[in-house]
C-alpha cells in the first residue's frame, strides 16, 4: 500500500498547489455526458459574518467561473472504453470550460463512476504506551488496520478513517489527547479496478492536465445531494447515471459504503430504441420528454409521435401511446432499483437508524420515480437536487450534475484520508534518515 500512499500524496500536493494558484477544474466523466466546472478559490473572507453567510463547510470560499458539459464519447458503464474518443471529449469540455472562464486551467480533479467499486470496512487496534493518544498514534493505528486481499489489479480510491475508539469510548472523530490504553479505528476503504483508474489518469495526462485527485462519483454525488442532517443521521444516495447507478451510504458525515450497479439510464434508452425500433437519439428524446414509470388511464390516450429520419414515410409517422413507453421503461427501472435494493441490503442499510434514501443523477428526473422507489426501497425517499454553489449557471443545477458539484465541494473541503496522516516511523526503510528524524520528533 506504500506506492499508493505516495501516489495519493503526490495528488494531494498537486491539489494544494492548485489551491494556491486559485484555479482548479473538476471533471465528471460520465457515460452520457462530461461536465467540467472551473473553480476559483478566493480564499476565506469573501463574506463577512454580517452578510449572513456562515463558513458553510468551506463552500463559501470558492465560486464557479466556468462551466461546460458535452456529450461523452467512448465511455461505457462509467469506464473508459475507447481512450482516444474519451480524450477528445475531455479536450472539448475542458476547452469550452476554459473559454467560459477565460482562464487557463492546469489542475483537474476527476471522478470515476464505474470501475467496479468495492467497499471494505477495516478495523485496527493498538495499545497506548503513554496512556494518552499522541499525534503519531493516529497514524500508527491506521497502519495497524488489517488489510484484506483486495484482489489483483485493485486500487484504493478512498481510505477514510470513519470512527476512532479509545478504550470503551467510541464515535470519536478526533482521538488526539484522549487518555486510554487502547486506540481502535474503523476505516472505510473503497477500491476500484486499477486498469480503469489507470486509463482515466492516462486520458487526463494526454490532455496536458495535472491530475490533482480522483474521487468516486457515488461519493461525490452523495456529498452534493444529501443535506447535512442526512449525512449525519444516516442516508443512502442513489445516483442514477446513464451507465452506472452509484450507491453511497453515509452516516456521521462519513461515507461508510459505496458501490455501483452497472445499469443505468442508458439501458432504458436502449430498451426504448429496441422496443419501438427507433434510433438511439430519438429514444433518448422520447425518454426525456415523455418518459415515466407510473401509467395512468390517461396515458393510454396520449399518443406520441415517434418521428424519425429514416426516409420512410410510414416508419416516420408511427405513433405510440405514453402507456406503451412507460411499459417499456418501468421494468428496466424496476430492475435497476432491485439491484440497488440488493446492494443496500448487502450494505446493511436496513439496520441504520435513519433509512433515508435520496435519488439523484439524471435518471432521477423520470416522473413518478419517487413513488416507485418508495415502494421498492423503503418509505423515506426523496429526489435530491445538488447543493447550490456560488456562480453555478442555472442549467447546471439539474440532478445530473450532482457528482460534479459534489466533487467541487470535496475539493473545497476535502475529507481526511489515510494518506493525509503522517506515515508511521516503522513504515520507513530501516536505515532511512527520515525514520531517525521521525523517531527523534516523536520521542523528544
Amino acid at each position: 500500500m506504500k506506492d499508493l500512499y505516495q501516489g495519493q500524496r503526490a495528488m494531494r500536493n498537486m491539489r494544494r498547489q492548485a489551491m494556491q494558484r486559485g484555479v482548479i477544474a473538476v471533471l465528471d466523466i460520465g457515460t452520457s455526458k462530461i461536465a467540467c466546472l472551473v473553480l476559483q478559490f478566493d480564499g476565506p473572507g469573501q463574506f463577512r459574518e454580517t452578510d449572513g453567510v456562515g463558513p458553510m463547510a468551506g463552500q463559501s470560499n470558492f465560486r464557479v467561473i466556468g462551466m461546460a458539459h458535452t456529450r461523452s464519447r467512448g465511455m461505457r458503464f462509467g469506464e473508459i472504453q475507447t481512450m482516444a474518443e474519451t480524450e477528445r471529449a475531455i479536450r472539448t469540455v475542458i476547452q469550452s470550460a476554459q473559454k467560459a472562464a477565460n482562464v487557463r486551467v492546469d489542475h483537474v480533479i476527476a471522478c470515476i463512476s464505474g470501475a467496479r467499486p468495492a467497499s471494505y470496512g477495516l478495523a485496527g487496534e493498538i495499545g497506548l504506551d503513554a496512556g494518552k493518544v499522541a499525534e503519531n498514534d493516529v497514524s500508527r493505528v491506521l497502519a495497524a488496520c488489517e488489510v484484506p486481499d483486495f484482489g489483483r489489479g485493485r486500487e484504493v480510491l478512498h481510505a477514510q478513517p470513519v470512527n476512532f475508539a479509545v478504550d470503551g469510548k467510541s464515535g470519536l472523530s478526533d482521538p488526539r489527547d484522549h487518555t486510554g490504553d487502547k486506540l481502535a479505528v474503523d476505516m472505510h476503504v473503497l477500491t476500484i479496478d486499477g486498469d480503469a483508474a489507470g486509463n482515466l489518469v492516462h486520458c487526463i495526462r494526454r490532455c496536458d492536465m495535472e491530475l490533482a485527485g480522483v474521487a468516486s462519483a457515488s461519493y461525490a454525488s452523495g456529498l452534493a445531494a444529501l443535506v447535512e442532517d442526512e449525512q449525519e443521521l444516516g442516508a443512502a444516495c442513489i445516483d442514477l447515471g446513464s451507465g452506472t447507478t452509484g450507491v453511497s451510504v453515509f452516516i456521521k458525515k462519513h461515507m461508510i459504503f459505496a458501490d455501483a450497479v452497472r445499469f443505468g439510464g442508458d439501458l432504458i434508452t436502449q430498451d426504448i430504441a429496441k422496443g419501438l425500433r427507433i434510433s438511439y437519439a430519438q429514444a433518448e428524446r422520447l425518454k426525456t420528454l415523455h418518459g415515466g414509470v407510473e401509467a395512468t388511464g390517461r396515458d393510454d390516450h396520449e399518443m406520441i409521435d415517434l418521428g424519425g429520419d429514416t426516409g420512410d414515410w410510414e416508419t416516420d409517422r408511427r405513433q405510440v401511446s405514453r402507456a406503451d413507453l412507460i411499459g417499456i421503461m418501468r421494468p428496466r427501472v424496476e430492475e435497476i432499483l432491485e439491484n440497488v435494493a440488493g446492494i443496500l441490503e448487502a450494505a446493511g442499510f436496513d439496520f441504520m437508524p435513519s433509512r433515508q434514501v435520496v435519488l439523484t443523477g439524471g435518471g432521477s428526473q423520470i416522473p413518478g420515480l419517487d413513488t416507485l422507489a418508495a415502494r421498492m426501497l423503503g418509505h423515506n425517499v426523496r429526489i435530491g437536487r445538488p447543493l447550490r454553489i456560488q456562480g453555478l449557471p442555472h442549467n447546471a443545477t439539474a440532478p445530473g450534475f450532482s457528482s460534479a458539484i459534489g466533487l467541487a465541494l470535496l475539493t473545497a473541503h476535502p475529507q481526511d484520508e489515510w494518506w493525509d496522516f503522517e506515515m508511521p516511523a516503522e513504515a520507513y526503510p530501516a536505515r532511512s534518515i527520515r525514520r531517525a528524524y521521525r523517531w527523534f520528533k516523536n520521542n523528544w
Binding site: A89, T92, Q95, Q98, N102, C207, G311, D312
Partner: protein, 349 residues
C-alpha cells in the same frame, strides 16, 4: 413487447423485416446534400487544444494584444522608411507644411524698429539680427537675440518684442557714461556702475567727465563716483582719482597735490580734508601730499618751497626738488630728510 408494436401484423416467428420502401411515391433523398456536410467532430484537435491553452496564458495574451500590433506597426514603418526616396519625400513634405505655416503673413516680421539707441548701437543691433527681413518670426529666436544684444557694452537693457504689425521692436536702454577710466591699455568710458561703455581715443572727447585711473578702478567705480560727488568745493581743482594697489583711492589735484584716502571710510576722510581746506585753506598752501591712510595719524608732506622757507629761517642750506642740498652748502644738507612729521597740525582744527 409484442403488444406494444402497433405494426406487428406479420408472422411472429420471422422477426420483423425492414420496412418496405415505396420507391416511386416520392423523390429519393438527396445523397449529395447529405454528403456535403459530414458531421464535423466537435472535439478540438490536439494541436488546436494546445494552441488554445497556450493562448490563454496571461503572458501570451499580453504579447498578442500589445506586442504583436506594436511589432507590426514598427515593422511596417521601418520597411516603409528604409527607402531613401520615401524618407526624403516624407521629410520634404513635413518641411513644406512647416514652412507654409511659418511663412504665413501673420507670422512674418517685416521691419525692425529700434528706440532709444544711438547710431552706433542701432547699427550693431541691425547687424546682429540673424536673418534678412522680412523673415518668419519662427526664425528669430528672441531670447537668444536678447542675450546677444545684452552682450553689447553700450546696452544696459533691451526690450525685444514682435508687435502684431510684423514689426520687431527693440527698446534699448543705453549705458550713460559717467566716468573715464585710464588704464595701461588705453582710455575707456564707464557708466556709474563701472561697466564699460566704450573706448575713447583721447581725454578731450569727454571733457565733462571726471577721470579715474589705475588697475581695478572700474570695479570700484561707484565709490569713485561718490568721492567725486563729495569733492564739491575742490572739484575744479580735481584732476582725477587714482586706484592704488586695487585697494584704495588717491585724490590727485591739479598742481600735483595728492590726498591719500584710506581703504575704509574714504568718503569720511575726504570730507575731513574738505573741512580742513575750508578752515585753513590747506590745499592752496604748499602741501605736496595729505596722507589720511591712518585715521588717527594724518600726515602732511609739505612742498619744496615751504621746506626751503623753513630751512632758510633755521639758517640751513636749501634743498632742491630731488632732496639734495643745493651746491651753495652741500655739507649741511647731507643728512636732511625731505619730510617732516607735523602730526599735531591737523588736530588743532
Amino acid at each position: 413487447m409484442q403488444g406494444l408494436n402497433p405494426f406487428g401484423h406479420r408472422d411472429a416467428d420471422q422477426g420483423r423485416p425492414a420496412p418496405v420502401r415505396h420507391v416511386p411515391s416520392r423523390p429519393a433523398p438527396q445523397v449529395g446534400a447529405a454528403k456535403a456536410t459530414p458531421r464535423r467532430d466537435p472535439a478540438p484537435s490536439r494541436l488546436a487544444y494546445r494552441l488554445n491553452r497556450m493562448m490563454l496564458r496571461p503572458l501570451m495574451r499580453r504579447l498578442i494584444r500589445v506586442g504583436l500590433p506594436a511589432f507590426l506597426i514598427a515593422m511596417v514603418g521601418g520597411i516603409w522608411l528604409s527607402d531613401e526616396t520615401r524618407r526624403a519625400n516624407l521629410y520634404s513634405g513635413v518641411d513644406g507644411v512647416v514652412d507654409k505655416v511659418q511663412h504665413r503673413d501673420a507670422f512674418m516680421v517685416q521691419s525692425m524698429r529700434i528706440e532709444g539707441a544711438s547710431e552706433v548701437v542701432d547699427k550693431a543691433l541691425r547687424a546682429m539680427l540673424p536673418v534678412e527681413l522680412p523673415a518668419s518670426s519662427f526664425d528669430i529666436d528672441l531670447a537668444k537675440l536678447r542675450e546677444k544684444v545684452r552682450m553689447l557694452d553700450a546696452v544696459e537693457a533691451v526690450d525685444l518684442r514682435i508687435t502684431p504689425g510684423g514689426v520687431l521692436t527693440a527698446v534699448v536702454t543705453e549705458r550713460v557714461p559717467a566716468v573715464l577710466w585710464r588704464h595701461a591699455r588705453g582710455l575707456e568710458l564707464l557708466d556709474k556702475t563701472g561697466h564699460r561703455v566704450a573706448s575713447v581715443t583721447a581725454r578731450d572727447v569727454r571733457k565733462d567727465l571726471p577721470i579715474i585711473a589705475g588697475e581695478g578702478a572700474d570695479r570700484a567705480a561707484p565709490e569713485a563716483m561718490a568721492l567725486i560727488e563729495a569733492a564739491g568745493p575742490i572739484l575744479p581743482r580735481l584732476r582725477g582719482l587714482e586706484r592704488v594697489g586695487e585697494r584704495r583711492w588717491d585724490l590727485v589735484l591739479d598742481n600735483g597735490q595728492r590726498v591719500k584716502l584710506p581703504e575704509d571710510g574714504a568718503l569720511r576722510a575726504l570730507e575731513r580734508v574738505i573741512a580742513l581746506n575750508k578752515a585753513q585753506d590747506l590745499l592752496s598752501r604748499d602741501v605736496a601730499e595729505i596722507d589720511l591712510r591712518n585715521e588717527f595719524r594724518p600726515v602732511l608732506q609739505i612742498g619744496n618751497e615751504a621746506q626751503n622757507a623753513i630751512r632758510r629761517a633755521r639758517g640751513q642750506a636749501e634743498i632742491g626738488p630731488d632732496g639734495k642740498p643745493l651746491e651753495t652748502n652741500p655739507s649741511v644738507a647731507a643728512g636732511q630728510k625731505n619730510s617732516t612729521k607735523t602730526g599735531t597740525n591737523p588736530k588743532k582744527t
